[in-house]
């Protein structure tokens, strides 16, 4: 039943989409005062149809309707209800349906919220957004229909991957998708504004909420993925420069740049062309992210070559969208010229340009690092790996000038500022950060040339952003976000420098020394639980003044046969104690990996702070309207 509902509502949505594209195109060419009521009505019908389709899929997952191929492949009757529901978007077909759902809901919200805007601009946004929606509808119906049926109906599903049964991972994709898809509105509105010729301060004000919404969701989405990788994958790291991670980081750099540029457009009516380019790029990156992850091209060229229909569809669709936007941009460029040509060298405008400069550099490193191996393999068949050392080598040195700029850029004035008189305040802060860094680095024997200026500067920036809370030049939201960012950089640096780990094979009852600590494996208890066998270990870690017990677990699932390691992590404000163990060949030895990770929790807290700043800015912006 739900298969039919889900399937046919998608066809109705496609018909609605085609009608809306034609109708909105006709309407933009005649002068009308008000938006045709039919347009809003049909859009809401379309949204409802897509919602019905999505609910049908979720219902099919809840009742374990194995006549549905997607449910059969990805679910199982033994799954807890929560993971049955999240399973509906944890696969290729379902996740595309979710994309589509968010696309149409966002468009509907846009139509409701933009009534004060110019009519031509609204029509064009509708048009561009419907082109994207129809593309996704055709893609889903042709290559990735979530409502394909299986006959005869199987009695049990296949999917029960235990690694994916995790709360953070269950809500991670929807949150990330809100961020990705939010950029589609930015894309459509900026193209619409180019054609309608209303790029300027009022448009910037209008679009800023969408930039903020996408940016907040993207930030939180990346954070959730990172937290999941930290405690579930069992390696104790939080960022691996894995292509799948990089793909979410790229639009983030672009959106962060856009977030700053939009402010210049709003306040000074400058950087019009650049704002448009960033909007187009951000969405293209979100789309190519979907392409890269969903086509299987990241794992290997060969999986892609075996079933290229999906990948080729997204790639050509992306190509069409990019060509379309470049053409529109090219033919309407004259409308974009600003009256003011250049900005003064010492001004907030220039500072934001510098921010964008670094964001684009970081973006290019991640982009090139991610796709270069794919191109190289296609071109001459050689396979290379681009791993963490590449990213660290290129990114870390550039953090030094970036931190310097960030420490004074935000406090500059618009239009024209003077080089400040010598500030004792800042000198004290600088000396303080040298002092702090001295005390920190004296305890380590690692003497990297780079780490000294990096630690000093990150503390300097941290103290400067704290100091900024006391003078009222900028908005609270900016202060919180910038403080959060400097806290993030500082925590990452300290975490990287002072993490240490112990890796050995141990038997029950054995004791090992590690630095000033003693690690003892007390016991391993075997129990049968629900659908897996559990091996729970008990470790104690002692030194002169502390005693911790850690109980990591190994789970052995039979269907499908999987072994997962559940790390045990003791978190305090100062450090994390992370312990994970694995079964070795059956000689009674276990592989034990203990990690000491200072200031780990601050990496998460600071990222939340960054998003809170964005949220605050969004709320304040809406308050002014009402």
């Amino acid at each position: 039943m739900s298969n039919y509902f889900g399937n046919y509502s998608l066809y109705i949505a496609l018909i609605a989409s085609i009608y809306l594209i034609i109708k909105s195109y006709i309407d933009t060419n005649i002068n009308i005062k008000n938006l045709n009521k039919n347009l809003v009505l049909i859009t809401s019908v379309q949204t409802v149809m897509i919602i019905i389709s999505f609910i049908s899929l979720v219902v099919a997952f809840i009742i374990s309707d194995f006549s549905n191929e997607t449910v059969f492949n990805n679910s199982h009757t033994l799954k807890p209800l929560f993971y049955k529901i999240s399973g509906s978007w944890g696969n290729h077909e379902g996740s595309l349906l979710l994309w589509l759902l968010v696309l149409s809901v966002f468009l509907y919200i846009f139509l409701l919220k933009s009534s004060s805007q110019n009519i031509k601009y609204r029509l064009l946004t509708l048009l561009f957004q419907q082109i994207i929606i129809s593309g996704f509808l055709i893609f889903i119906l042709l290559t990735s229909n979530p409502f394909n049926t299986v006959f005869p109906i199987p009695s049990e599903g296949l999917g029960l991957n235990p690694i994916l049964q995790d709360p953070a991972l269950a809500i991670h994709p929807p949150i990330l998708y809100f961020g990705y898809v939010g950029t589609s509105i930015i894309f459509s509105t900026s193209l619409a504004a180019v054609v309608a010729g209303n790029i300027g301060d009022s448009w910037a004000k209008h679009i800023k909420s969408w930039v903020l919404v996408s940016w907040i969701f993207l930030t939180i989405g990346i954070l959730l993925g990172s937290i999941w990788a930290y405690y579930e994958l069992g390696w104790g790291g939080f960022w691996f420069w894995d292509p799948v991670e990089n793909v979410s980081l790229m639009p983030w750099f672009c959106l962060t740049a856009l977030l700053h540029t939009v402010i210049v457009l709003e306040k000074r009516n400058l950087f019009k062309e650049w704002t448009i380019i960033l909007s187009i790029t951000t969405f293209s990156l979100s789309m190519s992210g979907t392409f890269l992850v969903r086509s299987g091209i990241l794992n290997s060229i060969h999986t892609f070559a075996n079933d290229p229909s999906r990948g080729i569809f997204i790639l050509s669709f992306l190509f069409v969208l990019v060509i379309m936007s470049v053409t529109i941009f090219f033919f309407n460029q004259k409308k974009l010229t600003s009256t003011i040509k250049n900005s003064f060298i010492i001004s907030k405008e220039t500072a934001i340009l510098v921010n964008n400069w670094f964001m684009m550099f970081f973006l290019s490193v991640v982009l090139v690092g991610t796709i270069y191996p794919i191109f190289l393999e296609v071109l001459n068949g050689s396979k290379i790996s681009v791993g963490p050392p590449f990213y660290h080598n290129l990114l870390i040195p550039f953090l030094i000038p970036f931190l310097v700029f960030m420490s004074f850029g935000p406090s500059l004035k618009w239009i024209k500022d003077k080089l400040k008189k010598f500030e004792y305040n800042l000198l004290i802060i600088f000396l303080a950060s040298i002092l702090i860094s001295y005390f920190i680095l004296i305890n380590t024997e690692k003497k990297f040339l780079l780490s000294v200026p990096l630690i000093i500067l990150s503390f300097y920036l941290l103290l400067v952003t704290i100091n900024d809370f006391f003078n009222k030049k900028s908005s609270l939201s900016q202060k919180i976000s910038h403080f959060g960012f400097s806290l993030l950089i500082t925590s990452i640096l300290l975490n990287g420098l002072f993490s240490n780990e112990f890796n050995a094979n141990m038997k029950v009852g054995e004791e090992r020394k590690f630095n000033d600590k003693v690690i003892k494996l007390n016991s391993v208890n075997v129990r049968d639980i629900d659908n897996y066998k559990s091996l729970k270990a008990n470790f104690e870690i002692k030194n002169q003044n502390s005693f911790i017990q850690l109980s990591p677990e190994v789970r052995i699932y039979q269907q499908p046969f999987t072994i997962t390691s559940e790390a045990d992590i003791k978190t305090t404000l100062f450090s994390d104690n992370f312990l994970v163990f694995n079964i070795l060949k059956d000689d009674g030895y276990y592989n034990v990996r203990y990690q000491y990770k200072p200031v780990m929790i601050w990496i998460w807290i600071s990222t939340i702070l960054i998003s809170i700043g964005g949220l605050l800015s969004l709320i304040k912006k809406n308050e002014k309207k009402y």
């Binding site: 681009v386 590449f390 103290l463 002072f498 070795l584």
Partner: protein, 121 residues
């Protein structure tokens, strides 16, 4: 007003790091295996993996070090055997010089663009 706050801060931070951590005892094996891809795993390094492949690789690296081989020689040996893919840090050669250069060229280009958009009048 501000000074006492900073002093507090410094004290807090010193306290955090008072429990000093002795230098990391990262053996050379760990260092090398962290830079090697586990060829049969999904995006894991040899160091992080417990697969049979990774375990035998760790032994290979250890034996080579015992033989007195240098880090570079071990990488060369493994590259010849398994291909360049096994090393996470791509070396600079005719296949990869663009990988390293493109971001740097873009950075310089961006800088030039900004100087043209900015005036010192």
């Amino acid at each position: 007003m501000k000074k006492p706050k900073f002093i507090n801060l410094i004290l807090i931070f010193i306290l955090i790091f008072k429990t000093s951590y002795a230098n990391e005892l990262n053996s050379q094996v760990d260092q090398i295996t962290k830079n090697l891809r586990c060829l049969i795993c999904q995006g894991q390094s040899v160091y992080d993996s417990q697969s049979d492949f990774a375990i035998s690789m760790k032994t290979v690296v250890k034996n080579k070090l015992d033989e007195g081989k240098e880090e570079k020689e071990i990488y060369e040996y493994l590259k010849n055997k398994y291909g360049e893919w096994i090393v996470y840090e791509p070396e600079l050669n005719q296949n990869t010089f663009l990988l390293w250069l493109i971001p740097l060229i873009l950075f310089i280009f961006g800088g030039l663009l900004i100087t043209r958009k900015v005036s010192i009048k």
